[in-house]
Structure formats: C-alpha cells, structure tokens
Symmetry: none
DNA sequence: ACGACCGGGACTCCCCGTTAAT
DNA sequence: ATTAACGGGGAGTCCCGGTCGT
C-alpha cells in the first residue's frame, strides 16, 4: 500500500492531479470542506457504524450545522461515495489515444480512476469501501452513480453508432464496473493487504473467460447471419 | 399487449411451472394480500407518481393500516419489486440438467423468471418496470436483490470450486443480469410493444460480443501499478 | 372572569359539555393529551414568546417527541388555535330552533362557542388570544379555519337555496366572525378585564349599523327590482 | 378576457389614474424587476403548482440569486400578492370628496384598486387569484395585508371619532373586503369569464341585505352569559 | 395476526444574517 | 453599494421500526 507522493512539490494539503484547467479558489475551498466532512464522517462510521451515526453527529464533529452538511452532500450516502477523482475522469478521457476501442477505453478509465485514489490515499479508499461493502443503501447509490457515468461517457464518445452498438458498449462497461466492484470487495475484505490493481486485472480476466463460455442465443430467433 | 408466445415452441417460456411442493393455505392467503396491496400501490404510483404517493395512501387504498403494510413489505420499494417468481426460482433450478455449465444455468434461470412473469401478467410487469426505470431508489434495491440471488445460487451450486472459479461465475451472472436489465429497460421504454424475450437474447448476444473484444490483462502482471 | 363550574359532578379533569353521543375512550385520551401539550406550549409562549419557542422545546416540556407533536397538531399555529369547542359546535347546531334565519343561527353558534370557552377556562382563552393578536401567522390560520367552518355549516344547512342566497349567508357569517374577532381583540387588549360577551354584542351592533349606512350599488347595474 | 368597460360610463373604472408625484427612476427600475420576477413566478406556479415550485427555481428563471429574490419580496407569498396598485391607493384617497361617509370611502377605494388591476392586466390578476384561492398560506397573507391597509386608512381619516365609531368603520371595511374576496373568488372560478366589477357590486349588495336581517343585540345587555 | 400509538432519523424548504466580491 | 455566496436554523413530511393491546 504505497502512499501517494505528489509529483508536484505543492505543500497545500490535498493536491489534485495536473489539471487541464485549474479550479477556481471557490472550487478549491469547496473540495477542502468536503474532504474535511468526509474525514470526520468516515471516522465516526468506523467507530460506531454507519447506521448508528447521525448526520447531526457528523455535523458536530465537522463543526458545521446539519443544514450545511446537506449543502455539500445531498444524502448521507454521498459522503461515503464522494471522492475527487470525479474531476479527474475528464482528464483521463482527454489523454486516451484516438480510435481506441470503446471497451478498452472504459477499462482504462476505470483503472485510472481507481489507481489514482489507490495511490493517493489508500486508507481513505479502504475505509470508504468497508462501508460500501457493508451498507446496501450506499452500495446501491454507488451503482446508480456509476451507471450515470457510463451513460455520460457513451454520449460523449465521438462518432456515430447505432443503438445496437451502444448497447454493446453499455453492457461491456457495466460488466467492467462489476468486475471492478468485485476487485474492490476482495481488496476490502483483505483489509488492503492485496494489491488492488492486480485484483482488478484478475477480475476482468475472469469476466472475459466466463462470458466467453456463453453460447450466443441470437441465431435461435433472429435472421442475422450466423 | 399480448403475452409472449415463444416462436421456438420451447415449452418452458412462461408456462406455469409444475410446483415441487404446493404452498400452504396461509402462504396462499399471504400472497393474495400482497398482490392486492401491490395492485393498489401500482395504481397510485401510476396516477400520482412514486414519490408523491405515501405509504399511508397505499394502506388506505388497500384497506389496511400503515403498520400492516410493513408486515408484508419491508420497504416501500419492495412493493414494486415483489413478484411471485421468487418462489418459482427454486423450481427452475431443480429442473436444470445436471452438469450444465454455470453460466448457462444463470442465463436459463434469469430467462425463465422473466418469461414466467411476462406470460402471466405483462401489464403488471410493465407497470413495475416503468417505476423501476424511473425511480433510482427502486432500481437500486432491485440490483441489491438480484445480487443476493446470485450469491445464494452460487452457494447452492453442487461441487467444489476454487475462489477464482466462483469469481468467474459471479461476474458472468452479474453481466447477464445487467443484460436482462437493459432488455427490460428497452422493453419498458417501448411500452411493452417489443418482444421482451427477443430483446433479452439480443442483449446477451451484445454482451458476449462486447466482452470478447476486450484483451485479457492478466499476463502483463504488474509492470507498473500506475 | 368567572371560572367554569361543571354542571356535572364528574371528577375527571376537563369535563366536556353534555354530549349527544359521548366520545370513545380513545377520543378522550387524545383530547387530554392535546390539552396537556397546549398547556405547556402556552406557558412557554407566554414566557419566551411565540417565535422564540421551538417545537422541540414544547415537545420536551410536554414529554413527547417532536414527531408526536405533529401527530396532534399539524402545525405550530394549531396548538394555539385548538380548543375543544370544535366538538361542541355540532351540539349547538342540534339545539337551534328549526326555521331560525341563517344569520341568527350563525350568530348564535359563534356566541355559544365563545361563551363556552369563556366560562370554562377564561385564562386559557386569554392566553391564546394574546398570541392570536400578536402573531400574524396564527391569526391568518385562524381566519382560514373559521372560513372552513362557515362553508361546512352552510353546506350542512337544511333546505335548498340558490347561489345568491348562499353568498348572502356566507358574507353575513364572515362579517359576524370579524365582529367576534374584533371583540376578542378588544377583550384581549384589556387583559380580560372587560366582559367578552358584552363586547361581542357591541361589535355586532356596530357591524349592523355600519353596513346599514352603505348604499346598495345594485340598481346602478342590474335590472333586479329596487 | 376583455378588460372591463363599465356600462355606467363612469370614468374612474380602470383608467390609469393621474399620479400626484411621479416615481423616481430607481423606483421605476425596482418595479420593473419585481414584475419580471412575478411573471416568472406565476408562470412556474401555473405549470407546476405553488408548493412544488421553490424559490430557487423562481430565482433561476428570473436570473437572480435566491438571496436577491428576498430583497424584493419578503416572502414567497408576496410574489403572488404584490401588485402595483398599492401605489395607487393614496391617489384614490386624495381624489375622494371631502365629507364622504367612511363606509362609502372604503367601498370606493376597494373598487378602484380592483378595477385598476382588472383593466390593466386581467390575465395577471386571474393568475394571481387562482393561486390566492388555492393556497391557504397566500390567502392568509392577503387577509393580513388587507387588514393592515384598513387600519392605516382609519388612522389617516380626518376628524376625531370615538372608539365606537372606529369599530363601526373597521367592521364595515372588513365586511366590504370579505365581499370583495368573495367576488374575486367567484370571478376566478369562472376563469375570468364573468365581469368582476358586477360581481363585486352584487356581493356588496348581498352583504347589505344579509346583515340587515340581523337583529341588534344591544338592548338585552347581559341577561345571561351562557 | 392486526391495528393504534409513538419515536426517530433523513431530508426539504423557507427565510435570514454575515461575509465576500464586484 | 449592490449583488452573490455561504452558512444557519426552524418547520414540516416521510419512511420505518418498536411496543402494546386485542
């Protein structure tokens, strides 16, 4: 579990990755506040459990009012899910080679997003995924969140594709996300002892193998050439 | 909206499956009550929206007390998700040929569960999936629900398998479920006009194609973590 | 300010007036709880002001949860407005002579409702009207409340009347209510020193005089016989 | 929905009244902004309902910040109530003949205020009163508002009167306002089809008739309090 | 088994005060 | 000198669970 060393020597806590366009001071401040709240929340969740921690307690610990908590995180679940790599994704996208097959693109984005958090603050990632694993409501929201991300990504893809093609990409991306989820789960169960990125690769390989064993159903009912 | 008649003539599609063991009269009564509650709930959801309908209103419409609602459905979401095929699954399982590859088994179970509802009461299935599609919380709970089903199924599988093998089955099953979800979504968006089972087969074919295009990552091990 | 002496010798606190049909034990209990809550609320309002008192404080003083407060009183305003004579009104109605002109009926009902509270617990009535007078939101809700009462009463009136007749009754009732409001205001400003019922009669007389001085506008624009 | 042309040929109905002192440019600008905000608000209220529209949405539609909304309108209700005739009232007052009986004065002012809006922008008046009728909180605030107006007017009346006289005026004015409210309600329920000013006259006539049927209570003093 | 009653936490909305930016 | 941004706080609604009596 190698802790993150920012390549830039910036001293401010929570340096972000090199950005195409830097964030305004307001945005920076907002992110810092969110991280502070998250820090307190994760601490309390770890100590007393997710369900046994109320927003009021989190707010008190973070020295804000309950009302303000909701200004930053629309729901209690979000304080677990949030991380800064959301911002990173579009950067990743910009760096992918043109013409890369969409499936590979999805995999690469997923991998980078995870790797980034993993390198930067593995403890926080671990704490978040302990809860993610244990609390259905949080997990559910995560899935929803990821699903939205996929749709946005597909819509953002260059070129014209048919519905069938989009469906293919969509399902591939979903399967990759499930694989990532499984990797994260295993990693979290090992308490961060295993190497997350290796687990991720293994999960994707397992996915490829498993799906390859399915027989296409198509010919049974459609005229499309066998 | 005509109930599905499979063009292939396969007998399993939607036919009322022979039950291994019949239900007790108490169980029957419970199921009838649940269906009544669900009927009223779906009617109200359709008329005023899911979020604008309170449990109190559902209870009033179904002539029960709010408290009793929760005796039948642990949450508001469940009244959308619930259907009788839960009971059907173990029957399906019992009828699968021994030695069937797990992936195929998962696909067959999924297909039968959907086909059963589709043949029996397509309008209700449609109403439920309209909501499922529109309300994130319900969708989330559905995913959770399905995920649990997979784990139970895997644990129930005969024979010994290693962790790697289980992971493979797990991810394959998840991918199939996602495909089923996509098919259901498309079907629901078409307002039931399209043939659900054909959509399901198409989705699974799309999944197979899409995942086949991924390059295994395994061999490269861990040249660089990031 | 003569305190109420219940004509019945019942020892239970808060005896209600002789009822056509007695209330169930559940209803009795509910009314007692509401009075307890109101007592605490009025005490706090008197001590610290209406706006400076939170529901949480009232709930704490009444030994209930805030949630329960709202089960009894839908809004904070209602805890000021509520009194038991709501229940009394239909009794009053039943005792009015058949064929009484609607205007007189309205006046009599209003008078009895006020007189009942006035005789029974003038201090409470005074405390409530101090707030009613001082807090616009409460006063507003009171007007709304009274208006509803009038509409219900009109609908409950026997016999067939045209729209024009209903309008006449409606406006007369409203005017009487305003007179009652003015009487209550004056009474409250005198801190209960004046005789409320005399004030009420004076206000209604003033209303009659004042309106009598208006010239009908009708003939200017309508064909109806002068 | 044709603006009213009074059959009587009276010139005061709805004509833009000559202003005693013109408004400053700042004031003009303020009024224009308020009208813009109100326009957007009424549009949203009509489309999605009063309660389902948040201040944030109104602010967004009017391109201002939520905070700024409150600089123009102290509450959400006020955006419905506000209109420009407030300014008109003192003009009306100045033009009334000296020595006019107070009751007639009240009636005339009320009538002019309504007629002015009715002639100027009947659609807006209708939209406002649809909400006024449907949303208790708004209606309540309107009553409060009108009541204040009455008190200010009475205080502004020339000459010395006793308390009894003031009470008479007060109650008469209130009754007239209720009549105006009833007329507005009927008009609004007819969707603006009926002639508002005729309805107003009819309502006042009904009031006069109804109150005339009441017997003065005065002489009987206080034979029995209950 | 059911219903009535109550508790509690999440969450939204209105509204206001303070601070910051223009 | 306005305007926006931010934070705070109270009211109110909803979901859901526990308890008790029937």
């Amino acid at each position: 579990m190698s802790p993150a060393v920012s390549p830039t020597g910036e001293t401010d806590d929570g340096a972000l990755p090199p950005r195409t366009k830097p964030l305004g001071s307001r945005e920076r401040r907002r992110i810092r506040t969110m991280r502070e709240i998250q820090t307190e929340a994760l601490r309390l969740f770890g100590a007393r459990g997710y369900d046994n921690t109320t927003i009021e307690q989190i707010a008190a610990a973070a020295d804000i009012s309950p009302r303000t908590f909701f200004r930053y995180f629309p729901t209690k679940e979000d304080v677990v899910l949030w991380d800064e790599y959301d911002v990173v994704i579009e950067d990743s996208l910009a760096r992918r080679p043109a013409g890369e097959p969409p499936g590979e693109l999805m995999r690469a984005i997923t991998r980078e997003a995870i790797a980034w958090q993993y390198a930067r603050d593995p403890d926080r990632l671990l704490a978040r995924h302990h809860i993610l694993f244990a609390v259905p409501a949080v997990r559910a929201r995560f899935v929803e969140f990821a699903r939205d991300g996929i749709e946005r990504l597909i819509r953002g893809l260059p070129g014209e594709r048919g519905e069938a093609e989009d469906l293919k990409i969509h399902l591939t991306a979903l399967a990759i996300l499930d694989a990532a989820g499984a990797a994260l789960d295993t990693w979290q169960r090992s308490n961060g002892k295993e190497d997350l990125l290796i687990l991720l690769d293994q999960a994707i390989d397992a996915l490829i193998e498993g799906v390859a064993e399915l027989r296409p159903a198509g010919p049974r009912r459609r005229s499309r050439a066998r």
